[in-house]
């Protein structure tokens, strides 16, 4: 009970010290604020590009995704890659299947050499 009373008193001091209402603006300050606001309203707004403001803003993420997908397709190794005939024969002779992971020619040669 005593603690609660102490906290109440402490809170009253905190409010007086840190949550004091700021000084109200004078009528002149309010008028200056209003005229600044009204002059801001009269200024033309910065215009967005027409396509951006007319509901075509979805194009930005769509084009980004398309570009990212294209980049992935170009850089990904072709799963249907077949190595040149001599490399394939070499690989087959060593018991390595070149079709499983689409390795590059260099990889295949390295694997054969290892064996």
């Amino acid at each position: 009970m005593k603690n609660e009373e102490n906290d109440e008193r402490l809170w009253a001091r905190i409010v007086a010290a840190f949550l004091r209402p700021p000084v109200r603006p004078s009528a002149r300050e309010t008028e200056a604020f209003v005229s600044e606001f009204m002059s801001r309203l009269e200024q033309p707004e910065p215009r967005e590009a027409l396509w951006f403001s007319t509901g075509l803003r979805w194009l930005v993420p769509a084009v980004s995704v398309a570009l990212a997908a294209s980049a992935l397709l170009i850089t990904r190794p072709d799963p249907l890659f077949t190595p040149p005939g001599d490399v394939a024969m070499l690989a087959e002779g060593s018991g390595i299947s070149p079709q499983t992971a689409a390795p590059t020619t260099d990889d295949l040669v390295a694997m054969v050499m290892e064996r």
Partner: protein, 188 residues
């Protein structure tokens, strides 16, 4: 002329009618910005932005709540956004501030309530308030400085009544726990 009529005129495209709406609400909007943002010029800019947002979206105001409650919601959201972006940049912990500014905080807590304030003390008040999470700062300002009811704060902060009560209770406890150390020796 009552406020509803000014609002109707603004909706009809009469810009000038909005000036009277600003006159009626300028003091508390600026007060909320000043209390939460601290710096006077930042508070002025924020107040301009708040009124601009209100002007641009006044067509959406249907009168379901009072205009003041609607404007409080815009103002509270705007200040909350600014406080959140600010607290991402720099935050000083309670402990660091209390250690560095203990003497100043003690002076503020023990000064008579109506005593004038030096620039240094005013700055310290801002730094103390900045230790609180942004939503606590807004809730405390709306309650303790602007005198809003719990219901009005819930409407302004777009949350439930229970959430408002919980935030205020935690904010108050947080403050009291950190300040207790300064007032215990005074027998408070």
């Amino acid at each position: 002329m009552d406020e509803a009529e000014f609002i109707t005129r603004v909706k009809a495209g009469e810009q000038e009618a909005f000036a009277d709406i600003i006159r009626a609400h300028h003091a508390w909007v600026l007060g909320l910005c000043a209390m939460t943002l601290g710096d006077h010029s930042q508070a002025e800019d924020a107040a301009q932005e708040i009124f601009l947002k209100a002007y641009k979206s006044i067509a959406k105001f249907r009168g379901g709540s009072s205009f003041s409650t609607w404007l409080h919601r815009i103002a509270a959201n705007h200040c909350l956004d600014l406080l959140r972006s600010r607290s991402r940049r720099k935050t000083q912990s309670w402990d660091a501030l209390l250690e560095a500014e203990g003497e100043g905080i003690h002076r503020l807590l023990t000064a008579p309530p109506d005593e004038g304030r030096s620039r240094e003390d005013a700055d310290l008040v801002k730094r103390v308030l900045a230790c609180l999470p942004p939503d606590y700062q807004i809730a405390l300002t709306l309650r303790e400085v602007q005198g809003l009811s719990y219901d009005e704060i819930a409407a302004a902060m777009d949350c439930s009544l229970d959430s408002v009560k919980a935030r205020l209770r935690r904010a108050r406890q947080d403050f009291v726990d950190h300040m207790r150390h300064f007032l215990d020796p005074l027998g408070v």
